[in-house]
């Protein structure tokens, strides 16, 4: 695979809505994908978890679409849909047979323009319950389920907007009111804070006309308020910070996180390749050393969070065998992470080859293409960046990886979260 050549066309409407089109007529399927520039980082004190609760409310109907109709019509059309909330953004997406493009645009535009009119207390109470169930099911009743909450609090200072998790606190969720819904909508769910991407099987001119027809009359909002809190953050944590959790978990697990440059930085590609070198695939360094050779871990996971605000996070975790000492597991994980400072060229090549083919395979789906294009438009004002992703990865050198390891993966930049099974201490 020498070069990606995904076609990309950009437009915008007078109200500030950004548009990205990318045609591919192989299969009669079209994806509609919206990214709003709002996420958990925009939440103020006492309102944590609200961006996610709001995402749920976006499915409760809008002025011209009754509750549940959105799901009903898309499913009836043979489509799929969902949404997700993250630190920096919230996305909404449908994939439908291509003759149903207009339906998806109608539904998305109606909630972008006229969602608040359809809100009432009963819907809010209902979705509050649903979100609390989600929190209990995925965080509280799930072994290790609360790791991201705990880790964010360790890695980011209290005043930083990444200090709290996307799911937020249940007290804050309980305190949310209909007025909060209305004001959040008015502040953030405005065309000048959104991107619409269409990918797949569509007629270009017809799609542009439909976008104008459905989204054109939505009033623009005010400029988006600056992020709350104190955004200043040192590139390094400065020490090893730790939390030890005795919990109802089956096996010991050590989760380590490091501050790394933000996604917008040119250095992020180095972190991405490092992450793959360390933990992607069975020939990765951590799998080979910890799982296969030393056999101190049952499994390893690494991840580089693509976050925008000040500092992002690189994460590595190792799950030990029954009865293993968390201290030994931590020492082994630290040693192998630091060993990245002696990474070899063939390891870098493997990491790049694998990252590359995973990226290309992801692009087989129009929905994935749309999601990436929306992201690059919203984050970088440059959806074409998708076509140069491979170049950025390939440009990463072994020297950069080694320098990254020395600078970022040492004990002066480390958050350690340890889960120890109850009753085995």
């Amino acid at each position: 695979m020498s070069q990606l050549t995904i076609p990309v066309e950009r437009h915008s409407l007078d109200n500030g809505l950004k548009i990205v089109l990318s045609q591919d007529r192989t299969v009669p399927v079209v994806a509609v994908n919206l990214w709003y520039g709002v996420g958990s980082r925009n939440e103020t004190t006492g309102k944590t978890g609200f961006a996610h609760l709001f995402e749920h409310m976006m499915f409760q109907g809008s002025a011209h679409v009754p509750k549940n109709k959105h799901f009903e019509l898309i499913e009836r059309a043979g489509g799929t849909l969902n949404a997700s909330t993250w630190y920096d953004r919230t996305n909404y997406f449908e994939t439908v047979p291509s003759h149903e493009l207009e339906l998806a645009l109608w539904l998305e535009s109606d909630r972008m323009g006229w969602m608040v009119e359809a809100m009432d207390q009963e819907k809010l109470d209902n979705q509050r319950d649903v979100v609390k169930n989600e929190k209990r099911q995925r965080y509280d009743n799930q072994p290790y389920g609360d790791w991201d909450e705990r880790l964010q609090a360790l890695v980011y200072p209290e005043a930083h907007p990444y200090h709290h998790s996307v799911i937020g606190s249940m007290e804050d969720i309980d305190a949310a009111t209909l007025d909060d819904v209305a004001s959040f909508f008015k502040t953030f769910y405005v065309p000048n804070n959104a991107v619409v991407t269409i990918t797949g099987d569509f007629e270009r001119d017809a799609a542009l006309q439909l976008l104008d027809k459905y989204f054109g009359e939505i009033e623009p909002g005010q400029p988006i308020p600056p992020l709350p809190g104190d955004l200043r953050i040192h590139p390094l944590i400065g020490e090893t910070v730790r939390e030890h959790v005795l919990a109802d978990v089956p096996l010991p697990r050590v989760v380590m996180a490091f501050r790394i440059p933000p996604y917008s930085s040119d250095d992020f590609a180095v972190a991405e390749v490092s992450r793959a070198l360390l933990g992607m695939g069975r020939a990765s360094r951590l799998y080979r050393r910890l799982v296969r050779e030393r056999r101190v871990a049952k499994g390893v996971v690494t991840f580089a969070f693509p976050l925008l605000t000040g500092a992002s996070m690189l994460l590595a975790w190792a799950t030990g065998y029954p009865g293993a000492s968390p201290e030994e597991l931590e020492a082994a994980l630290a040693e192998e992470l630091e060993g990245l400072a002696e990474a070899e060229v063939h390891e870098v090549e493997r990491a790049i080859a694998l990252t590359e083919s995973d990226l290309v395979r992801g692009l087989e789906r129009v929905s994935q293409r749309a999601d990436l294009l929306s992201m690059f438009e919203l984050y970088f004002d440059d959806p074409n960046r998708l076509n140069t992703e491979l170049d950025r990865l390939r440009a990463v050198t072994v020297d950069e990886i080694r320098a990254f390891a020395k600078e970022r993966l040492g004990p002066d930049n480390r958050a350690v979260l340890t889960y120890e099974p109850k009753g085995e201490a």
């Binding site: 009903e72 695939g281 799982v291 087989e364």
Partner: protein, 453 residues
């Protein structure tokens, strides 16, 4: 002033016809069924090698052996260590994965098209010449034992395991977890794995599926070159009869101290993949609990706020698999949630679905089928299903038409045969102290608290 009337739902455009892509079928010199689907999309290819080394062909004392053998394939070959095998694959950006199920073992691989020849060589080497070195086998076994232990503390996994035990009569494979138990896995040594692979990793009854931008003739040559020496059939196995444990409705509570949420499974023995009711049941399940706008989800989530989500499902296997409703609900609403689910089951069977519900579910199923044919991997795994379940070659070409032909009466009839609310086993993993009394007052049947296995 806008001329646009927003309250009017837009009309659909004109449908672009789309068929399941053509599949070329060949037979390799060793008898293996080769199916190639030529796609002119991105330069990626997905392959799937399936053979009949499955968990349902094992006796209980060997439960989990097929899974362990499949996982231990990454331990290396006669020519390469495990790490060397992984490096060779990943160095060319290829992904190899082994999935072992009830019916057999499936080795799937995906790579960029220009790497297929190298990747196929490695795939064949991994399956035909596994070395099962002792230390790698030990590791794979310890990992599987740890996973078995991990499952016992994960309420969702625990609930599913308990449900299988309560739905299916003891001793048959479906009553147990696919990866076995501590007793069956702990004593396994490398010899057992190599003997198992030697006897059961055989091409007869299996198939090789390839989807991507390639020429079937070339694939045939490539595959023959690498697989011709691989011959024979796995040993014949005794069939088993799938029976329920009981036809009496019962409630089983697995106590988990301090649980903030209850995991719920409600169901019984369902039916097999070959059932003539397959399409009616698929449509019926969508409207009952297989979609967001299903009866169960609208009731339990959108009306009552009891749960984050709820699903029902028929597990169609070569023999009758489970019909099961699964959800996770707050501790305090466990009994009302169970009551609502049973009520919905009764209403479905007694009242049947409406014309409108059936029409919506049919449209959803027929439409979404096309959405699931975007990637080479999706297409390869669809074609694999034809091999696994012995379905006719034109199956997917008539698939949508058969879905669209399903009538409301057929759905009603099929659901009332295959769903029997009076026979369901209700399994709840949660805090017994909080939920037993309210569950008893539902009066569904005897409530028994059992300890986790």
């Amino acid at each position: 002033m806008s001329p646009l009337d927003r309250s009017r739902q837009p009309k659909s455009g004109s449908i672009r016809k789309f068929d399941f892509p053509d599949v070329e079928r060949r037979t390799l010199s060793n008898g293996l069924d080769l199916r190639v689907c030529k796609l002119s999309r991105l330069p990626v290819v997905s392959t799937n090698l399936f053979f009949r080394a499955g968990e349902s062909q094992l006796v209980e004392s060997r439960a989990g052996l097929a899974v362990l053998t499949g996982d231990a394939l990454e331990g290396g070959t006669q020519k390469r260590s495990g790490t060397e095998l992984a490096e060779a694959l990943e160095g060319i950006g290829a992904r190899l994965g082994v999935t072992t199920g009830w019916e057999g073992t499936s080795v799937s691989m995906s790579c960029l098209t220009d790497r297929l020849e190298q990747a196929l060589t490695l795939l064949a080497e991994a399956v035909l010449e596994p070395a099962f070195p002792e230390d790698e086998v030990d590791r794979a076994r310890e990992q599987q034992l740890a996973a078995i232990r991990q499952r016992a503390m994960d309420p969702a996994a625990l609930a599913s395991m308990e449900a299988s035990r309560r739905y299916f009569v003891a001793g048959i494979p479906y009553a147990r977890p696919q990866d076995g138990s501590e007793e069956s896995i702990a004593p396994v040594k490398r010899e057992l794995l190599s003997d198992y692979a030697e006897s059961c990793y055989r091409p007869e009854g299996g198939g090789l599926i390839v989807a991507g931008d390639l020429d079937p003739d070339e694939i045939e040559i490539m595959a023959n070159h690498r697989l011709a020496a691989w011959t024979g059939a796995p040993p014949a196995v005794e069939d088993f009869q799938v029976d329920p444990v009981t036809r009496e409705r019962r409630v089983w509570v697995v106590h988990r101290e301090g649980s903030v949420q209850s995991e719920v499974r409600i169901g019984h023995v369902g039916t097999d993949r070959a059932t003539p009711d397959y399409f009616s049941l698929s449509v019926g399940n969508l409207l009952f609990g297989g979609s967001f706008t299903s009866r169960l989800n609208l009731n339990l989530r959108e009306e009552n706020g009891f749960t984050y989500g709820i699903r029902s499902r028929f597990g169609f296997r070569s023999r009758p698999g489970p019909f099961s409703v699964s959800t996770s609900v707050g501790t305090d609403v466990t009994a009302p949630a169970v009551g609502e689910i049973v009520k919905e089951l009764v209403q479905l069977v007694e009242g049947g679905p409406t014309e409108e519900e059936v029409a919506a579910a049919r449209d959803y199923a027929a439409g979404v089928f096309g959405l699931q044919l975007e990637t080479a991997g999706q297409i390869a795994s669809r074609i694999s299903q034809l091999v696994v379940y012995g379905l006719p070659d034109d199956y997917y070409h008539t698939y949508r038409d058969r879905l669209r032909a399903v009538t409301t009466d057929e759905v009603a009839a099929a659901m009332s045969v295959h769903i029997r609310p009076q026979e369901v086993q209700v399994v709840v993993v949660g805090d017994a102290g909080e939920i037993v009394a309210p569950l008893e007052s539902l009066d569904l049947g005897p409530v028994e608290v059992v300890s986790a296995p």
